[in-house]
Amino acid sequence: MARLEIDWTRCEAHGLCAQVLPNVITLDEWGYPMIVQHKRSHDDDLTEQRRAVGVCPALALRVTREPTTHGQARHTRAPR
């Protein structure tokens, strides 16, 4: 499973990530990103996440792969 991770020591509240991923990231009252949706990444989501990583001028975003046990990933979609 891939997920977006924020390096809070780098983030400078530019806010571009929220424009690229409006469904995943909103900004708090100070302009810092809040990840509202930690969902399982499909391949196309991953592409979007990588775009967000690419537009961050502070290089504060990363897509990390969390190790999951085999077969578990299939069932981890959060109920909505």
Binding site: I6, W8, Y32
Partner: protein, 412 residues
């Protein structure tokens, strides 16, 4: 039962038989006196040490309470390093300073046991004060050669004592939490696999291997054996460090410390939580968490009804804001916002709790270290536990009591 220490205005005492605080009534234990009081230490391999720690459910004493057995088992192979974190950045805590000052060899014994089990030769000791470092270097010089003990004085405030800040400082960097989450057991000091724990943890390990599992487990709570060091601070007649069997009741501890009627109680220190004071409440990790509290680094804070409780809370809120390293936006902006919310509550503004809880949820989990999480927990649980004061302030705009500053914020 209590004796004044020569080094500090703080006292120490114990309920039941002292273990870690044994033999220090007449001052610091040098190596010969230490060996008289505590005996020698056995050589254990890693599995034996893990088994012993597991048998008594030994938990780290720095705040997080992580299992020592699991931490020992997860130190990666390689050039392993042992770190004693004696920075004790929590201003209400004094237990580690007391140990390092009066019984340094107990802590060094524990580190030696761990280093031997991990086949490590390098032991780093991180402290905040030069005065403690001087005594430690002296203690290190008394010990037989073999292991490399190195004492480091690292600067900084509250967050500089966090494990990964210490690792970073010992690796030549700033004493600040790094932005990327790495585990010291995997990549610690200079990139080497590192076993880092709080000073008291090492003293507990020394005590455990000297007493054996059965002896060590002869007192304690059913799910966590042995004793623990608690710093009692605030509105008590005898503030100080108390060694108590885990599971001792709050009432027994406060009786020893000479408390006035308790108007507010926080456990775990300034990253801890306020709880409703109940005399029968057991002082153990599990016992406190059932009441919404945390044992944390073993701090018990008391205020009485002569001070403005919400003022005390806001004063700590302001201090916690200033302890932000200002690396992470939500902490840098969120903690001052929380303090302003507290001031609004103090002035009696209606519905002023709502923004406080909202801001608390916005800082939690959004930083390089747990400072925003701990600060938010301390402040929100305070507002919940002090609901009567909130009500009084809402109705009258104040409580009519002065702010006495019963909660300590900085000795330095």
């Amino acid at each position: 039962m209590t004796a004044a220490t020569q080094m500090t205005p703080l006292r120490f005492g114990y309920l039941g038989e002292p273990r870690l605080l044994r033999g220090i009534e007449n001052g610091a234990l040098d190596l010969p006196r230490h060996r008289n009081v505590h005996g020698g230490i056995p050589d254990l391999n890693l599995q034996q040490l893990i088994d012993m720690c597991h048998a008594v459910s030994l938990a780290g004493r720095g705040g997080a309470g992580f299992s020592v057995a699991i931490k020992l088992a997860s130190v990666r192979r390689g050039h392993r390093v042992v770190v004693i974190n004696a920075t004790e950045s929590e201003p209400a805590s004094f237990k580690d300073r007391l140990l390092m000052t009066l019984s340094p060899h107990l802590v060094l014994d524990g580190a030696e046991v761990v280093a031997t089990a991990l086949r490590s030769r390098d032991i780093h000791i991180a402290v905040h004060e030069e005065s403690i470092a001087v005594g430690l270097r002296h203690a290190v010089a008394e010990r037989p050669r073999g292991l490399r003990f190195r004492v480091h004085v690292i600067g900084g405030g509250f967050v500089a004592g966090e494990a990964r800040s210490v690792v970073r400082a010992l690796s030549g960097g700033e004493a600040l939490p790094p932005g990327r989450r790495t585990l010291p057991t995997d990549k610690g000091v200079d990139g080497h696999p590192t076993f880092l724990s709080n000073a008291e943890t090492f003293a507990q390990i020394a005590s455990l291997v000297q007493m054996g599992v059965a002896g060590y487990a002869s007192v304690g709570a059913h799910d966590e054996r042995g004793t623990t060091l608690l710093t009692v601070n605030g509105a008590v007649e005898k503030p100080g460090v108390y060694e108590v069997p885990l599971g001792t009741s709050l009432g027994a501890l406060l009786h020893s410390a000479g408390s006035h009627p308790v108007a507010g109680l926080a456990v775990g220190g300034y990253h801890g939580a306020w709880v409703t004071p109940r005399t029968e409440m057991p002082l153990s990790r599990a016992g406190l968490s059932k009441q919404g509290g945390v044992l944390g680094a073993g701090v018990v804070l008391v205020i009485d009804d002569s001070t403005c409780a919400l003022g005390e809370l806001a004063r700590i809120g302001s201090w916690l804001s200033h302890q932000s390293a200002r690396q992470c936006g939500p902490c840098m902006f969120g903690l001052p916002a929380l303090t302003e919310d507290l001031v609004a509550i103090i002035r009696g503004k209606a519905n002023a709790e709502r923004p406080l809880f909202r801001h608390a949820s916005m800082v939690s989990g959004r930083g390089a270290c747990a400072h925003p999480d701990g600060a938010a927990r301390f402040l929100t649980t305070g507002i919940t536990a002090l609901a009567r004061d909130v009500d009084t302030h809402r109705r009258h705009g104040n409580c009519g009591r002065p702010l006495l500053g019963q909660l300590p914020i900085d000795r330095r």
